[in-house]
């Protein structure tokens, strides 16, 4: 029985840890009342004769927090009492909690995963990769010192990234305004978000547009509004949607080409010839690939007089008008 004097405040992590231990230890599951009245961190605040609404809300949030860590917290119905919320039982089945025994990592693999985890520096994906690393270290393997020290980074700076990640997790249809280059005003889009992927250093959303039934790719930096959840859910199609979206854009990239001339010995020559997919033509010009001519036009404008676009004609015009815009803006 809880004592009558105010109990010392139990730290949040102690309550969460005690909840995980209690639910791991039970096969039959515990009811909410059992949990709130007996588990460390709840029992100190449990009112045996009255209202526990605050504590129940706390329990709901704790469940979400625990599930977010990948802990398979289950709800089961008591046989014969289906639909009765008070008789729901909670447990964490050992078999789906424990890392499978064949999932163990060699020191080389551990080193690779350590490097993969430092790639993320921003946002929730960074926190998640740090947690994954902690779990990896739980296995006691160390990676050893690398020959060459690497510090790789993938930026996640688009404001739409976090809300889209959450919407994908919740399988929620989203609404946002999207500004296509060359269009005067943004257009509202309503889509089923399927995956996020980075191509050529830029984040894209792969989504299905229910109105047309088409899969579409959106560049995150062209989303000009907040991501609004519509409250409607959808069933994602089977298959690795991120890989499918990436492969589709890569196909586009392979098909779209441009021919440019570069000044010999210039920065443009040094960098464009080393660009992925770039090839020197017999006459010394360079063929480039791009997934998006508007982005290529921006990049080429940055090289100023070091680059002359030969083809296609629309890219030539786009680079020229960008350079004229630069002059006008800085006149």
């Amino acid at each position: 029985m809880p004592s009558a004097t105010p109990a010392p405040r139990i730290p949040v992590e102690e309550r969460l840890f005690s909840l995980v231990l209690a639910l791991l230890a039970t096969d039959a599951g515990l009811t909410k009342a059992e949990i709130l009245s007996t588990v460390q961190g709840y029992r100190q605040r449990y009112n045996h004769s009255g209202d526990n609404a605050n504590l129940e809300r706390q329990f709901e949030r704790d469940k979400d927090d625990i599930r977010e860590l990948g802990v398979p917290l289950e709800t089961i119905e008591t046989p014969g009492q289906a639909g009765n919320n008070q008789s729901l039982r909670y447990r964490i089945p050992k078999g789906s909690y424990d890392l499978p025994s064949d999932v163990r990592f060699t020191p080389e693999e551990t080193a690779l995963l350590g490097l993969a985890s430092v790639v993320w520096r921003e946002g929730s994906i960074s926190a998640e990769s740090r947690r994954a690393l902690v779990k990896l270290r739980s296995l006691g393997v160390t990676g050893g010192e690398p020959v060459l020290v690497y510090l790789p980074r993938v930026r996640v700076r688009d404001a739409a990234f976090e809300p889209l990640t959450a919407a994908i997790d919740k399988r929620q249809i989203v609404r946002f305004r999207y500004l296509k280059p060359g269009e005067a005003a943004p257009v509202e889009r309503v889509v089923q978000p399927l995956a996020l992927f980075s191509h050529e250093g830029r984040w894209h959303l792969y989504a299905l547009e229910p109105d047309t039934g088409w899969n579409k790719t959106f560049l995150l930096r062209r989303i000009v509004s907040d991501i609004a959840l519509t409250g409607k859910t959808f069933d994602p199609p089977p298959g690795d949607q991120a890989a499918i979206g990436l492969a589709e854009l890569e196909e586009v990239w392979a098909q779209r080409t441009a021919i440019v001339e570069v000044e010999p010995g210039s920065d443009a020559e040094a960098r464009l010839t080393k660009r992925r997919g770039a090839s020197r033509q017999a006459d010394g010009s360079i063929q480039l690939h791009t997934a998006d001519y508007h982005i290529l036009a921006d990049e080429l404008a940055g090289f100023g007089p070091e680059v002359l676009v030969r083809s296609p004609e629309h890219l030539r015009n786009a680079v020229r008008s960008r350079l004229e815009r630069i002059v006008a803006d800085h006149g």
Partner: protein, 324 residues
């Protein structure tokens, strides 16, 4: 009032769930060793062990009897900073990865899959499959295109392996080309761009080199004078220098992330119509004109005048190539 949830408590829980199986696998481990393994301060290990030692399950009696709790050898812990678990409850193994944790590692591996260290593609896909099996739900749909790296990286690696200096032609943003001799310290990347940070014998200072501006790299016989352990490299890729140019820009709000690497830490952002006025720091106008010309219509230099003029001239020379 219900307590506010902090992500910190969630991270602490993940740490506790990871530490317990590690301690179970080690009959006796010092606080220092565990701290080194998890790369955390020793006090964080001690705090976690104190909490684990008094935690457990409600048990048959629903009152946390002694046998229902973890226990440690207290004397070893308090007098010798050693951890010995003497009673264990509920937990048998390491926890699985969450869908998003597994996805973060898998996408990180994809990004790095072109490094010389990752030459064995089959091993990488085995590793990704293992992460998928070790995840409590299908990994979240996130992918990163493998970053392209060229032969330069393999040459850098070899020079580090041999402990010798690297020599190469380097062309800076101004267009000047020089032969550089460098002790390679670290290879860094930002998205699709790769950089070498090294001790430059020509400048006698740490310098950052873009890999795609490096030409004709050769491995010398000259031993390095500074290794990765001898130099403290700041985390920021572009360090400020006293003679840096501070430039005021007006930028479309959506384009601000593109300039984040150049912004000074104390850069203010004030609204100017539908633009944001802010300051960036660049080493000279040659870098600036390239940067601003690649953001036509979204970034405009306001001051100083000579920077503004340099950008205008760069654009004019570029436009002139297409005829008047």
């Amino acid at each position: 009032m219900a307590e506010r949830q902090t992500p910190k408590a969630q991270d602490k829980l993940a740490f506790l769930l990871a530490l317990v199986p590690y301690l179970m696998d080690h009959d006796r481990v010092s606080v220092a060793e565990a701290a080194a393994h998890f790369d955390v301060p020793p006090e964080q290990i001690r705090e976690a062990v104190r909490l684990i030692a008094v935690s457990g399950v409600p048990g048959e009696t629903a009152s946390y009897q002694h046998g229902d709790l973890f226990d440690i050898a207290w004397d070893d812990f308090e007098e010798h900073d050693q951890i010995v678990l003497t009673n264990m409850v509920a937990i048998d193994d390491s926890p699985r990865f969450s869908a998003r944790e597994a996805a973060a590692l898998i996408a990180g591996l994809q990004y790095l899959s072109s490094l010389p260290e990752h030459a064995d593609r089959a091993a990488i896909s085995t590793l990704m499959a293992k992460l998928t099996r070790g995840s409590s739900a299908s990994p979240s749909p996130v992918a990163v295109q493998p970053s392209e790296t060229d032969a330069t990286l393999a040459i850098i690696r070899e020079s580090v392996e041999r402990g010798v200096q690297l020599e190469f032609d380097y062309q800076n943003a101004r267009g000047d080309r020089e032969r550089r001799r460098v002790d390679p310290l670290r290879v860094e990347s930002v998205d699709a761009d790769w950089y070498l940070r090294g001790w430059c014998h020509l400048r006698e200072a740490v310098r950052t080199f873009r890999l795609d501006r490096i030409a004709s790299p050769t491995i010398t016989d000259e031993p390095i004078t500074r290794g990765a352990g001898d130099v403290t490299l700041p985390d920021a890729l572009f360090e400020g220098a006293p003679d840096d140019l501070i430039v005021t820009l007006e930028v479309a709000p959506g384009a601000l992330p593109l300039l984040a690497d150049y912004m000074t830490p104390d850069a203010t952002q004030e609204q100017a119509g539908d633009r944001v006025r802010t300051t960036v720091r660049v080493s000279h106008v040659h870098g600036l004109k390239r940067l601003v010309a690649s953001m036509p219509g979204v970034a405009v230099v306001i001051a100083p005048d000579d920077a503004r003029a340099a950008v205008a001239e760069w654009g004019r020379a570029g436009a002139a190539r297409y005829g008047g």
